[in-house]
Symmetry: C2
Subunit: 214 residues, 2 copies
């Protein structure tokens, strides 16, 4: 059993940023994710997490010395997966602002469709992070936002995007994509490809890329 060695950052070959298999978190983090998603950080004990992971409490502490280190490890992996996929999507996209915009929006959408539990714990347990790591975590999240902002600004500069408020439009696009994790269900009305196609259209309208919407 993988009892918790920190995984190396993933690499995403051509198109692999779109691929979501089963979770492959280290067992203690998978157990912490399930427990935090169900009962919240403050409603979960280290004993609960050890039991879910099939480990003794000392065995769990060997890799993660506290409940806080489990939350930090989980959120660290969550953000590095999201950022890694967004960066890969951008590297593999064409050079025009609309191609780059579509790539980063699609990467945000897919992550929030397929990693709903992580997205939920990531957004609800910021309150439970110790201050120093909380600052780091928010900085990483801001980096994701700046990736979107830079593309929207490039589209405005090139005249392709006609929003008068690029910063607000970029934030609204991110908020919409993140929010998909709160209601998306694989069994829902739209298949994932159709949902992505429709949301890409809506996102383009939000930044004033009107040609695509006519």
């Amino acid at each position: 059993m993988d009892t918790g060695a920190r995984p190396a950052p993933r690499e995403y070959g051509e198109g692999l940023w779109r691929h979501y298999g089963e979770e492959d978190l280290p067992a203690p983090l998978a157990a912490a994710l399930a427990a935090f998603a169900e009962h919240g950080y403050h409603g979960t004990s280290v004993r609960d997490i050890a039991a879910r992971a099939g480990l003794s409490v000392p065995g769990l502490y060997h890799h993660y010395p506290s409940k806080q280190s489990l939350l930090q490890g989980l959120l660290e992996l969550t953000m590095s997966d999201l950022l890694g996929r967004s960066r890969a999507a951008l590297e593999q996209a064409g050079g025009s602002p609309v191609e780059r915009f579509d790539a980063v929006v699609e990467s945000l959408l897919l992550f929030h469709m397929y990693r709903r539990a992580q997205a939920f714990v990531g957004s609800t347990e910021i309150r439970s992070l110790e201050p120093v790591f909380r600052v780091e975590y928010i900085a990483t999240r801001d980096e994701q936002q700046r990736m979107v902002d830079a593309i929207v600004q490039a589209g405005v500069d090139s005249g392709e995007f006609r929003t008068p408020h690029p910063v607000d439009a970029g934030r609204a696009v991110t908020t919409m994509c993140v929010g998909v994790s709160t209601w998306y269900r694989p069994s829902g009305r739209l298949g994932p490809d159709e949902l992505v196609a429709r949301y890409l259209l809506i996102a383009r309208q939000m930044v004033g890329y009107f040609d695509a919407a006519s």
Copy 2:
């Protein structure tokens, strides 16, 4: 001290749906809100809530016989306030789809700017509701979405809104407005009026009301 009599539904005279003063929840619900927002439902005890409310545990139980009834009472008031404000906004709006759309979007935005703690507990503790009430709660939330859906569809029927996917656009608009509660701070870059004005513009673009964006 108001120890918990259930308040009657509020009435919102002309423009009052836009007015947000201090919270005026019954003391036990105000205490439950603060505790749930800080530590989550499962991380909070009835004793914590009683202490925050300045009540004895038996005094708290007199009005709310369980922690679950506190959560239910809180979410019931939250949804009836949100729905009451949205209905008032619609009743007081002009008759055109875009006027009605602006009214309901503004009511959603303001609620999620000024009632962030309720919005947070409402979205994060659905998991903690007992099944029967959970079904009722989700039905009320769906009613709010149907209000948006009906207006977007009316706009498409009249030719004012040119989205090819009214249901998806309506859901995306709601998701964006709800998500404002996750990042809005009164001390932020934009004042509330400016933020509402910019988001109304973005929301109109999402449903394909292009005239407003040019």
